[in-house]
Amino acid sequence: MRRQEDTQDPQRPPHLDLLGAGPRPVPEDLAARVRDAVTEDRGLLARLRALPTRGREALAAVVVLALSVAVLLATPRHDLSGYPGFRMSLVLGALAVLGLIALRASLRPLHRPSLSPRRRTALALAALATPLVLAVLPDVYSGAALHAQVTSSVLDAAWRCLVFGVVVGAPFLLAALLLDRSGLRLRPHFLFAGAAAALTGNFALQLHCPITDPLHLVLGHASVVLPFLVLEAFVRRRA
């Protein structure tokens, strides 16, 4: 059936002519509105948004890099030298690749076809699930000894990390808001900017927090995405 549909040219649906063809006359006030909107689109923000997409993506990536370097310099994890290099590369690599994909999706220009619903769902699920999977991976290194030094309560430590991750991720969301040509007004753009912000927060936490307890990682690190999801839902409801 599908093969037949592939090869034959589809028939013209009935009565379509009744809907009218050809251009409509554009009212002069509408033409003036369009010209005004374009003329008024100037200043630093307009120039940022008018950058080529590669440039906007590079700027957003620089923001992520700057945030990560700032965390590494200001509050690095105490066990950085002792932490297994392979596991560190795996975690940072997974978060970076996924974050980059989410970043590109959030700044996707409108002249490119939008991502299919299947791809959008897959990316959103991956952004949600990856930090969770990384949190429950079998332990290759015991940071438990450090746990007691850092804090006395699991919930307290998780809360601190959650706040830290959100605070580090938020500037990325702001950068995406400035760089996106629709100001993140388009729903998938805001969703993916939130996902990229959460992944930035997770990336920074991996460089900052020495606790390796899976419960802590789930409650304090993987859950960084939740405030961004709540924000997305709030913005969507208000739109």
Partner: protein
């Protein structure tokens, strides 16, 4: 009366008239040049900083896109708002445009993406009710009441189709894009677009038979 001022005034007036004439001639010749310039070249000129090229693009595509948006939205005010957004996005994306690629599918992709986002936000449900909020355009040539009723039915039937089938039908049969161009606009394979058009046609025919 100082007779010496008369000639200088006349010279000034003559010079001013010449200036006005020269500006009009330049404007006229530029308008003629724009009219003979391809879409791709106009967009290249606009990216290079020629604001007149944007006006020429708007003159060429404003009415076409307004018709496309009105046919899908059924509300002229919303179509007008979206048209403004489309051209604002074209303006912002000018540095991304590659003149070796055809411009028409490029600008329609912008319009389609904004339209889909609009539908995501407001939903399509209200459109399905025949006659509710419907505005028929006087240029549509639907003078007969019966024809107008059928046109409303067609609109309502189109509105019930899934997005992908509706896109294939509208872009191919109403906007005049070839199937490969439709595939480029919606970001799907050619075979997938034809299948969507087939299925959309069948659903539409079934619905209109009732």
């Amino acid at each position: 009366m100082n007779h010496g001022q008369v000639p200088s005034l006349s010279v000034a007036r003559l010079f001013f008239a010449w200036l006005v004439f020269f500006a009009a001639a330049v404007r006229g010749s530029r308008a003629k040049v724009y009219a003979e310039t391809s879409d791709e070249e106009l967009m290249r000129l606009y990216s290079a900083g020629d604001p007149g090229a944007f006006d020429a693009i708007f003159t060429r595509y404003g009415g076409m896109l307004l018709a496309y948006l009105e046919r899908q939205l059924f509300r002229r005010d919303e179509a007008a708002d979206l048209l403004q957004d489309v051209f604002l996005q074209v303006h912002r994306a000018r540095a991304d445009y590659d003149p070796s690629r055809p411009f028409r599918p490029w600008i329609y992709t912008v319009a389609r993406n904004l339209l889909r986002d609009h539908f995501r936000r407001v939903g399509r449900k209200r459109e399905v009710n025949v006659g509710e909020g419907l505005e028929l355009h006087p240029d549509e040539g639907v003078a007969e009441p019966l024809q107008a009723l059928v046109a409303e039915e067609v609109r309502a039937a189109l509105a019930t189709l899934p997005d992908d089938q509706r896109d294939a039908i509208v872009l191919h049969w109403l906007e005049g894009f070839s199937f490969p161009e439709v595939a480029e606009i919606v970001g799907a394979k050619l075979s997938a677009v034809k299948v969507r058009a087939h299925r959309g046609y069948r659903s539409l025919a079934k619905r209109l038979e009732r």
